[in-house]
């Protein structure tokens, strides 16, 4: 890491920045008197949960706030205050002085233009280079961000690149005019952990080469520990703590920072080196709820078949939690969907309480499904926006014609108590609740019919860490009370480690490793599991540096 000159003029400086939005519900004060500097060659991480105002801050620096925003204070980019600056002047500063890396590489690139056109565009817009000169520069950029064979690949379109490569291209566009400031808004959130580690490596290399200041916006403390020099913590629009990364992450001063860090699930005591396999002890007889044997699942796409999952076997007993982990496209959610009956099983047996879902009659299948509750990933989408919470909760009972209106309401109240929501929520609508509250409603709905099996498909990945901690705690608690079996699908190894008794690691539709959590996640045998574990960043800079080295060694050895 190159040393940051403490006396250098800041590349980006906020002074008493205030942003207010005029909305139907009145004035929303999104950023309250924020002051923050980013020096050249420095990475400052702006962390906070959703609604904390971190993205509004960065958008203010780009001059991209919507028309209903009222901004006061200063946001200086290379000495020029962009607050209140004429639109046209701000536009010429973009890309040359300040550039942005977006969260979603799939949508940040235009799918109908070749990469070449999109890279060259920046040069042409700012009168830097045209024609073959511009193309040569674009090829150099691609080489810089590590795209193999840039001469050939520059002619290709975004869909021909993988997610990680697309993010590299987005980064190439951002750095094309060597901006003084780069704003990276959740640059790795949409990526798998192994790809995330590569992108973080790239950003680390680039900021040294370009000597740009990077304002990194993220909610992931592991990413902060990996990349940032300084950390600024935002809470409800205010800056509550700033300091060097080591200090803030290991010795937080402000109670909110403490709380935030405490809520981050950590995966510790991972032994990546070869160790003896821990022999599993013969367990007490288990009351099997779900059994999968050599299951294959296919998607039908326009007549063609695509095998998403193959040769997966596992079992799940009452009172147990099985975690299914893997990266995107590994088929982990497909298994959950097959158990729910949303996708048919192509071969093998998938049996709930000994009844094979593929062979039972429709009526029987409905009966079997009554035993299964489900919690989906997106709490905003999984509740019908036109149903009040009471109706949402009672729906499973109405569908299966259980109980009377009074007894249904009673059960709804019972479960609202169990998930610690006030009872009068029954008259409210989903949009009035926060994400965490909605997910608790989902959880309550899943348990309405006293299911024996709960399927949780990434139930916390759309939630903030502190809310995630509360929801995970609640799942554990409810399991103790209701003794259901739980199939927990997640990409987050630390979350699975926290909750699951057994873990199934998936890659490209195949099982990679299966066993008790303590052995799979702490003494992994498969190379893939090891890579996965090594790529997940931890919220401790020193520890993370160590892990980064370990990961390099691991990759070099394979």
């Amino acid at each position: 890491m190159t040393a940051v000159d403490p006396n250098a003029a800041p590349a980006l400086a906020f002074t008493d920045l205030n942003v207010r939005f005029a909305t139907e519900g009145g004035i929303v004060h999104a950023v309250k008197g924020l002051s923050l500097d980013v020096k050249p060659g420095e990475v400052v991480a702006l962390v906070g949960e959703s609604g904390s105002g971190k993205s509004v801050t960065s958008t203010a620096a780009m001059g991209l706030l919507p028309a209903n925003a009222m901004v006061t204070g200063e946001a200086r980019v290379g000495g020029v205050n962009v607050v209140g600056l004429h639109e046209e002047k701000v536009r010429t500063m973009r890309a040359t002085e300040i550039a942005m890396i977006f969260q979603e590489p799939m949508t940040a690139l235009n799918p109908v233009l070749s990469i070449e056109k999109q890279l060259v565009e920046t040069f042409e817009l700012h009168d830097i280079a045209y024609g073959s000169d511009a193309v040569d520069r674009a090829i150099d950029l691609l080489r810089l961000v590590g795209i193999p064979e840039p001469e050939k690949r520059i002619k290709q379109y975004p869909h021909q690149f993988s997610g990680g490569q697309r993010q590299r291209i987005v980064i190439a566009i951002a750095i094309s005019l060597r901006p003084k400031v780069i704003i990276a808004d959740e640059p790795t959130t949409a990526l798998d952990v192994t790809v995330q580690a590569e992108i973080l490596d790239l950003l680390r290399r680039l900021k040294d080469e370009l000597d740009s200041g990077i304002l990194l916006i993220t909610h992931n403390m592991g990413v902060v520990a990996d990349l940032a020099d300084r950390v600024a913590v935002m809470f409800r629009g205010s800056l509550v703590e700033t300091g060097p990364v080591q200090d803030v992450l290991t010795n937080p001063q402000h109670p909110y920072t403490k709380k935030l860090l405490a809520a981050v699930p950590r995966l510790e005591n991972v032994e990546l080196a070869e160790t003896a396999v821990v022999e599993e002890t013969i367990e007490a007889p288990r009351d099997l709820v779900l059994r999968a044997e050599d299951v294959a699942i296919e998607y039908q796409m326009r007549g063609r078949r695509f095998r998403a999952v193959e040769g997966v076997s596992f079992d799940l007993a009452k009172n147990e939690i099985l975690g299914i982990v893997g990266e995107s496209g590994s088929g982990k959610s497909t298994i959950a969907k097959a158990v729910l009956g949303l996708i048919p099983v192509a071969s093998g047996t998938l049996a709930v309480h000994g009844e094979d879902l593929a062979s039972v009659s429709r009526r029987r299948a409905k009966e079997v499904r009554r035993q299964i509750g489900v919690v989906f990933q997106d709490p905003a989408a999984s509740l019908d926006p036109r149903f009040p919470i009471g109706d949402v909760l009672m729906e499973p009972m109405i569908i299966h014609r259980v109980g009377t209106r009074a007894s249904r309401l009673e059960r709804a109240h019972e479960l609202l108590d169990a998930v610690r929501l006030p009872r009068d929520v029954v008259n409210r609508y989903p949009h009035e609740l926060s994400g965490g509250q909605r997910q608790r409603v989902s959880l309550a709905r899943a348990l309405m019919l006293k299911p024996e099996l709960l399927i949780a498909d990434e139930p916390t990945s759309a939630l903030d860490v502190s809310v995630q901690a509360a929801v995970l705690e609640m799942i554990k608690e409810l399991q103790q009370e209701y003794a259901f079996a739980c199939l927990f699908v997640s990409h987050d190894l630390a979350v699975v480690d926290l909750l699951a008794d057994h873990v199934l690691v998936m890659k490209d539709g195949h099982m990679v490793e299966h066993g008790a959590t303590s052995s799979v996640l702490h003494h992994p045998q498969a190379d893939y599991t090891k890579r996965l574990l090594a790529a997940a960043p931890v919220p401790d800079p020193a520890e993370q540096r160590r892990r980064r080295e370990a990961r390099r060694a691991l990759l070099a050895s394979q």
């Binding site: 005029a22 929303v28 993205s55 706030l65 959130t189 989408a381 509740l383 949009h431 009035e432 609740l433």
Partner: protein
């Protein structure tokens, strides 16, 4: 509204952040305001839309006057002249309606004997125009109801089931679409005319061929709605297709359906006028606004009121219904209307100048930015202060 309390709170204290989840629950409990449903929010936004409210008044006025004056279904109205009996033409049939008060030098406000004048055979033109208006309104409403019902059911079924059902229904839709509406309506109008010049029958027939546009729109809407997780949630609970379509999908597509129903009404009124004008619609002695225009188009130069009364009412009614639809669309989908700032007619399409321009959203909507969750769609109707810049 208490929705922004959390954002306006004074500097952060440690008690504030005791536990985020608990703080949220406390905020929820504190909210004593009656919970607003989606429908109530829509209604509130609708009532703020000035153009739509003016249109609503205009529509109510036209409907009330036309139905009360001439009576309906055998109930006699307050206007004593018939629209079929001819009489002596008084003063060249000029209108006796006067709206200029005496103190302004006019004749005072009074209806007179023939407020809209008389046509060439001495029939009272007010009676004729009011009956014509009734016919047009019946036409519009019947066509609107049929179109909406057929179109939304076919669209929803086809969008939900996809596959073969979708193919069959959409090919039927295509066939109906390629038949020129005016030609088939003309042919049907002939038959309807022969059957007994029933406006209901004509409306029924036009309704049965003009549902195609709505069917396609609803299908598109349902195709995107069915991928939402609440549908998967209902399916995995064991809900049947009927329940999912009618309880979950249709209510969520209500915006598209209602808005297009109003437009269907406006276009049905215009279609009826065109048909009658061409001579394929309503036949004398029955009457309609289009027929009146067609009959007296020659009188435009010397007796212009014979043209202007029916023409003006068609214009006013169709325009009002369109504005109503506009207001409904803005109410159902506030984000769309404000992102694309349409230059409304004379820029009085209801946006309060002092009110915020963007971000008219249901309160308490919070969007999870979906960390490590690329597939998550952005929350509907959501406006996240965090991501505010790009909302």
């Amino acid at each position: 509204m208490s929705t922004t309390d959390s954002h306006n709170s004074a500097p952060v204290t440690s008690t504030d952040i005791y536990d985020l989840a608990e703080a949220e629950d406390a905020a929820l409990l504190k909210k004593s305001a009656k919970p607003l449903s989606q429908g109530q929010l829509v209604r509130r936004r609708f009532f703020r839309h000035k153009a739509a409210m003016i249109s609503l008044v205009v529509i109510v006025l036209i409907v009330a006057v036309s139905f009360s004056s001439m009576g309906f279904l055998g109930i006699p109205g307050w206007w004593d002249k018939s629209y079929v009996t001819a009489g002596a033409v008084v003063n060249g049939g000029a209108p006796t309606l006067s709206l200029i008060p005496r103190w302004l030098g006019g004749e005072g406000i009074h209806l007179g004997e023939h407020p809209f004048g008389q046509e060439s055979t001495g029939k009272d033109y007010f009676a004729l125009v009011m009956v014509g208006t009734q016919r047009s309104i019946i036409m519009g409403v019947v066509v609107g109801v049929i179109t909406t019902f057929v179109g939304s059911v076919i669209g929803a079924v086809s969008g939900y089931f996809r596959g073969r059902v979708d193919s069959v229904l959409m090919r039927i839709t295509d066939v109906v679409i390629v038949i020129p509406l005016l030609a088939i309506a003309a042919a049907l109008g002939q038959i309807a005319g022969n059957i007994g010049s029933s406006v209901f029958l004509l409306a029924l027939m036009i309704g049965l061929i003009s549902w195609t546009g709505l069917a396609r729109l609803v299908r598109g809407e349902i195709l995107s709605l069915r991928e939402r997780e609440f549908v998967a949630a209902a399916q995995s609970m064991g809900a049947g297709a009927g329940r999912i379509i009618f309880q979950h999908l249709m209510p969520n597509a209500i915006g598209v359906i209602v808005v297009n129903a109003t437009f269907a009404i406006a276009s049905a009124i215009l279609l009826e006028s065109s048909l009658s004008f061409l001579g394929f619609g309503v036949r004398p002695p029955e009457t309609s606004l289009g027929l009146l225009i067609s009959q007296y188009q020659g009188a435009f130069t010397n007796r212009p009121w014979l043209f202007w009364w029916p023409g003006g009412i068609i214009l006013a009614f169709a325009l009002a219904v369109n504005f109503l639809g506009d207001g409904l669309r803005d109410a159902f989908d506030p984000r769309q209307s404000h992102r694309i700032r349409r230059a409304g007619l004379f820029d009085w399409t209801g946006r309060n100048k002092n009110a915020p321009a963007a971000a008219i959203v249901p309160p308490q909507v919070e969007v999870q930015p979906g960390p490590s969750n690329p597939a998550a769609p952005t929350t509907e109707g959501g406006y996240d202060t965090d991501k505010g810049g790009r909302a």
